[in-house]
């Protein structure tokens, strides 16, 4: 087990800057997920840690040692890729054991490792089977087992579940979590699926165009995104953004769109302070779909004093336990999650309130979060 530290890691391919100055401190036993859109540099970062890609600049530590020049096989890591190979002519036992056999580990040591891994993965009864007699999930487990028997300091996984169908992926996600709880091996995991990231990670690294946008635990990332990119990337359906302006009104401040105006409650003094310098400036108002309130079905004090906003219903999407309403405010379509009891119909003119405790305001130029 080991910590992994990236210090100003840069990867340049001729004209492409794939990773620019990454700094990440991964603690021992931590499960860190790298997430971001296609081409943002996730795989490149992982492969540099694995030693399968040269580091252009910066230092990589595994434990306390700089490993930039250490060969992959001497880094004590195991990788799991999306395209895992199971040899069709070997049974499950040998599919996990052959690497150790070829490295000439003692037979009893191999046997212990394979049986331990099989037990952890719940595939003991399958050890004699050939891959063709296994389900997709069982095969994935065997591939995982091959990494486990190596007892590495660090697991590196590049979208290991993306070949599985949706249902199996959910199941394997849960198993991966349990597995990490048991083994406590430092894990660095790449995915472009933010739900996978949110459910698996101790901490998430959000990347865009080779630049780290934020490193945080899932809840903080969700509640306090650094900028509009993170705000829009994490969460599904995504956070809504409305162009607005901050204006002074009496003692207080208001957020003003073309057709809406909400007062910032007097008790939000911190927000007030941050926003003072933005008076009469353009900002972006961000609100998550679940923080938009339908006064017809909502209860409680949230609505006392809340400013209501006019909107028109464009699309009604029943999701079972809730309804996603696509509504137009100021000519911009946004999504609100409302109670399944709601009777909203397409074309209805309705009023909504925002849960301002949960609002986000971004600088319109830099897209950085103000609050």
């Amino acid at each position: 087990m080991a910590k992994v530290t990236l210090k100003n890691i840069v990867k340049r391919y001729d004209e492409v800057l794939a990773v620019s100055g990454a700094n990440i401190d991964i603690k021992d036993k931590e499960f860190v997920v790298l997430v971001g859109p296609s081409g943002c540099g996730k795989s490149t970062t992982l492969r540099m840690i694995a030693g399968l890609e040269e580091i252009t600049e910066g230092e990589l530590y595994i434990g306390d040692d700089v490993v930039n020049d250490v060969a992959p096989k001497d880094r004590d890591i195991a990788m799991v890729f999306q395209n895992y190979a199971l040899y069709p002519h070997m049974n499950v036992y040998d599919n996990m054991a052959f690497g150790l056999k070829l490295r000439k580990y003692p037979a009893d040591d191999i046997d212990r490792r394979v049986k331990d891994a099989a037990q952890i993965l719940g595939i003991e009864p399958l050890l004699d089977r050939k891959p063709k007699a296994l389900s997709g999930g069982q095969r994935q487990r065997v591939a995982m087992g091959r990494a486990i028997v190596r007892e590495p300091k660090v697991f590196l996984m590049d979208e290991p579940l993306s070949n599985l169908d949706a249902k199996l992926r959910v199941q394997m996600r849960a198993e991966l979590s349990k597995l990490h709880e048991r083994l406590q091996t430092t894990t660095i995991y790449v995915t472009h699926d933010q739900i996978e990231a949110m459910t698996l990670a101790d901490r998430i690294v959000v990347l865009k165009d080779g630049v780290i946008q934020q490193i945080d635990d899932p809840i903080s990332l969700y509640n306090q995104p650094n900028n509009m990119f993170v705000a829009g990337f994490i969460g599904s359906p995504a956070m809504n953004f409305l162009d607005a302006k901050i204006e002074a009104k009496g003692e207080g401040l208001v957020i003003k769109g073309e057709t809406f105006e909400v007062n910032i409650p007097a008790n939000m003094s911190q927000a007030m302070k941050e926003l003072e310098t933005y008076v009469d400036k353009e900002v972006v108002f961000g609100i998550r779909p679940e923080d938009i309130i339908d006064p017809n079905t909502a209860e409680g004090q949230l609505l006392d004093n809340a400013d209501l906003v006019d909107a028109e219903v464009e699309v009604v999407e029943p999701m079972g336990s809730e309804i996603n309403l696509h509504i137009t405010i100021d000519g911009q379509t946004i999504v609100a999650i409302v109670d399944p009891e709601s009777e909203a119909q397409v074309g209805d003119k309705m009023k909504f309130a925002f849960d301002l405790d949960k609002m986000h305001i971004f600088d319109a130029d830099t897209e950085e979060a103000i609050i």
Binding site: S38, G39, P72, H89, F98, K101, L102, K104
Partner: protein
Amino acid sequence: MTITMKDLAQMVGVSESTVSRAINNKPGVGEDTRDKILELVKKYNYKPNQLARNLAKQETKMIGLILPDISSNFYSEVARGVQDIAIQSGYQVIICNSDGKEKEELSYIEWLESNKIAGIIFLGSGLVNDKVIKLGLSDYPIVLANRFVEDLILPSVIIDNAVGASKATDLLLKSGYRRIALINGPKDNLQAQNILTGYKEALRAYNIEFKEELIINGDWDRDTGYEGFLEVLKLTEPPEAIFAANDLIAVGAIEAIKMGGFLIPEDIGVVGFEDTIVTSVIDPPLTTVAQPMYQLGVSSANKLFSLINEDEIKERIEILESRLVVRKSTKKLI
């Protein structure tokens, strides 16, 4: 309207280099993005500048074959298979003897790559090194022949030795031999372990108890065969048949058996494994499990050319089975 790479990049919201990578099937583009780009390419009938592509590629009509030692019968048979397919495709083969050393292999890879060789076949045994994994990840055409990789799937052709060993043992059992000694390679060698697995499987099918005393481990050479036979002869109950794990071991065992004045196959049956030229010239001609060496070369080369021509590959991992060749060193089936 003619569409440019820039237009495609804008439509998908990626950089031009990503579009180019997607079109040229290079790494670093996610599947979804690649699909999106290729869909647009089709829709707008986008044609990349063919000349520029060829210039960038500029590969020679040569492929590399890295193997431990061409002077071994086994490897030269495989090489012949590779070469026959290469010639048909208008390519030459560069043979590189690595003596099974990683350092040699690495410098060959570097040389082959920098000379724009179209692809490489890695033939031998054991795990591939990290550089080969890197090549595989970069989509450079490579094929593994009888070599293994742990982390990811690479196009491979592999001979299933366990099945072959089981066929050999089964033949001896079918011919009426019951106590069968296995003279095998080193105990920690995967090939030797696979042979042992097949041997045990066949015994199990006949409900015959496995006896550790009948297993001899040594090197893959004639001495091991010779000494191995003398060793099992000392048992209170000597074996009725010998399963030799390669041809050289078989040759040594046959020498020892004849020296002892025993008749083959009446007193002692012998089955070999491999079927190189050696086996048909010794007396009596050896019954053996013929390893599909030539086929290993042919299949590996076919796979490599599919990769080079960007054709679809049917099986990423192809398993070849050995074939039994019955000659005179075993009794007629009963």
